[in-house]
Symmetry: C2
Subunit: 308 residues, 2 copies
Amino acid sequence: MLQLVRLRGPHTVYDPIRYLLRSSGKRVRPVLTVLACEAVGGRAAAALDAAAAIEALHGFTLVHDDIMDNADTRRGLQTIHRKWNDNVAILAGDEMIALAYHSLLKTKTRKLAILLRMFTEAFIEVCEGQGLDNEFERRLGVSLREYLHMIDKKTAKMISTAAALGAMIGGGSKQEVNALGTYGEQLGRAFQIQDDLLDIVADELSFGKSIGGDLKQGKKTYLLLRGIERTRGKERRLLEKVARRSRISIEEVRKIKEIFERHGIIDEAQALVRNHTRRAQQALAGLGPTRAKEMLALFADELVARTS
Amino acid sequence: MLQLVRLRGPHTVYDPIRYLLRSSGKRVRPVLTVLACEAVGGRAAAALDAAAAIEALHGFTLVHDDIMDNADTRRGLQTIHRKWNDNVAILAGDEMIALAYHSLLKTKTRKLAILLRMFTEAFIEVCEGQGLDNEFERRLGVSLREYLHMIDKKTAKMISTAAALGAMIGGGSKQEVNALGTYGEQLGRAFQIQDDLLDIVADELSFGKSIGGDLKQGKKTYLLLRGIERTRGKERRLLEKVARRSRISIEEVRKIKEIFERHGIIDEAQALVRNHTRRAQQALAGLGPTRAKEMLALFADELVARTS
């Protein structure tokens, strides 16, 4: 990843990018690109520039989202806009987009124009998803359907594209590219809902952030929106208080967790995660038997079994 | 330009983009792309998607730079981050990058990969130029040479690329593409130094901003840096006060203008503008006679004769 960043100035542009790329993210997206390439018979090396491009574009979204969310930490480190300032973080994010395209353009393939169109489409969707996310924050009546539409744009599309790009570079057939795109899309949905779940059920130590953080920030998660749909009266008023971004106490976080449990919302979310994971794995069915295919199937299990 | 912006949500992403694209910019870059295409025998229509891409990428730089500079107005209208907020402006800028690539990717040519590499290189340089600009703001000893390097990256490279892309799309030879790239580069330099000059010598009414605005903001312009090189004692201390971004009075603005005049710095800057303009026009010499070539030559004269 770090070879993306040329050893040249200006420091205030490249230092924060190096800082982010050195931090220990899960690298879900670039791993998918490489595995998808191998799963259709391609060589891993051919997909590395595209994998770096996907990770750089993901990095850009993190850096700019952290400014918008006023976040203090990311991957256990200070966010760039905190460690430097907003201007540095804006520009570092911009430059990461440029480096992403620069890297993707190094891919040796006759299908470069198609790769670039897929990548740009995902980039547009991720911006639209972030825009919806920002709008939902300041709106009370967000439906579960709207939320799922938003995470499709903000999270699932990019993960789907990470896999589809790899399959395209590996010379996959149209069916194979679609299959791996579907795998990524389903995995992305599972991944996001699992993230929402972890805010409530995670082991605090291994999750690395405190339980109920989303609730305290008034984030409209799957659990909260489903909870509002399923409850009435006092329970619903408490959940709506979260959605209005009112300050809530630790006692109220505990109560909310109980409401979720009482109405089977945690079970439901877990079932949904399992469901999307299964669909992701089913999408792999048509691919020939490779080590990479096995790893993609395992990867889906691991991602949703994670506790952090 | 506006067809770039799909008629779809989210509003907080697309409304500010429409707002900017509707405002009356000079459209220097897209005009260059189209004229350069015609000057090598291409059809204007073939270059429109690339022209829109260049203008969208330029729009992104304006929106993000305005956040960084804390600017209130742009093209006589409130800046996006003032009319909406910083988050909206960050995301609108990001989306404009995506739309720029989306538009460029619609260009019908066998040289799409090269176009994209040139475009991405210009995008990287513009970010680096902005990074240098930010660094120079907080540094006292900036040399004229460093300043010229910065404006090459921040301004001239993109204008050069606007012209070179057009020539490439029009099917120009390597010499023609280079010639038009040089034209754009020289024009870009002339354009930026002219901008610095206008801050001091412009007719306030037609310039649309108040005289000495750059000085009051402590912006390190060509005139200021050349002035610091050429003066000593009391005069130099006054110019260094500007460079330290100390508050200066209207009386001091008048004194600074006198220092510039006394040391021939305004004359020198005007000569430099004429020099770059002439070199831009000389770069056109090798092209065959077309209406577009004549217009490019005229365009250079007009740009530097402008009073706003």
